[in-house]
Amino acid sequence: MPNNSVRNISQDIDGEIWLATPTDIVKWVDTTWTNFNKYNSDIPTEGIYDIRFKDKKNMYIGAGSGLYWKNDTTWTVFKRPNVSFSGTDCIIKIEFDKNGELWLIVGSGISHFNGTSWTHYTRQNSILPSMDIKCISFDKFNNAWIGTNSGLLIINENGIEGYADIKENIHTSFLLYPNPATDQLFISSETGLNASLEIFNPLGERVLLQSISGNSASINISSLKAGVYFVSLCSESGWVQQKFLKQ
């Protein structure tokens, strides 16, 4: 062992154990320990946080200086400015979802690579409640469950799956218009709107609370600053949320 700090443990396709330490990657097979680092191998970095194997030919290393992907013998580096990681290139954790797509816990957010393009989740562009991301895991529906120090966020770009029995009892949808809006925001729903309406800013702070009823309502948003907001509609039967832009 080159270092007593074992940051992450990974198994390759053959079940062999690899350890991520700050200075080295360690391969452990039976009684044999093999250290790989910047000076005795082709590993291009130090400051290692995580190592993951997608298959026999694809290895990923998360480090303080970016994401390092080894495809067979070729290394590719993902870091700013080529990839718009949120605030930092520090890749704390690497995970693969049920489709084999790459998810990263970056210093101050979550990044997802679908093989073609990156999506970066931050406090500014999603309801990610905190920059302190603890973990990410995937259920059988491929919903991403993200643990933070301010709550549990479930993400699915195709719509959260797997809660059909709950969905049956809640609002199907509501219409929010215009979007972008200036002074007035209108809301309507065919199923009725006996609910409390809340508007949150991107920091998760509630900026407006209003009770509404009937099939439609108007909300005065003239006091809000320009920017992106989230409208949450909460009633006894459930909760729905939509995003809008205040001009």
Partner: protein, 171 residues
């Protein structure tokens, strides 16, 4: 494990009373809109039945469909309420706990509703904090810590460190 879960889910299940968006990309669960025991979510793992095991700073939450079971020191024999890491492989489950504001790490196995824990008082597991927990192909837990790698096999905790490797049999 199935029996354990069934008993607890029947006796202690709760309706998932969370406001949830429909066809939306995001769902945020907190202590205000769900039965989460803490907003600090340290680890999440799913078992073979898609049950979510959620480690928080105030205990362990087990969520299956609409049933929600909270496990903490007041209703179980877990050593601490702070659950830092979870490892699940088939029907094997291991959990790492940390003493709140302390320096005591416990790594525990849950089998048939019984918790068996290893810590510095009964083994060489003397780490200050856990950084990773996995179960290898031999169903042994491997614990990555600030003080080396620990392996538990047949109640023997083996320590792998920079200079030495030692072991102690738990009583």
């Amino acid at each position: 494990m199935k029996k354990f879960l069934l008993i607890f889910c029947i006796t202690l299940s709760y309706q998932l009373s969370v406001c949830q968006p429909v066809n939306q990309k995001y769902l945020l669960l907190t202590t205000k809109n769900s039965l989460l025991q803490s907003n600090v979510i340290n680890d999440i793992k799913f078992d073979n039945e898609n049950t979510a095991w959620i480690g928080t700073n105030s205990g362990l939450s087990v969520v299956r469909d609409k049933s929600w079971l909270n496990i903490n020191q007041s209703n179980s024999n877990i050593p601490h309420n702070t659950v830092t890491h979870i490892a699940i492989k088939e029907d094997k489950m291991w959990f790492a706990f940390m003493e709140t504001c302390g320096i005591l790490v416990d790594v525990c196995n849950l089998e048939n509703g019984v918790w068996t824990c290893y810590n510095k008082t009964n083994s060489w597991l003397s780490a200050i904090f856990t950084q990773d927990l996995v179960i290898n192909n031999n169903y042994e837990p491997l614990v990555g810590t600030d003080a080396g790698l620990f392996r538990i096999h047949n109640k023997i905790v083996t320590v792998y460190q920079k200079a030495i490797s030692v072991c102690l049999i738990i009583q």
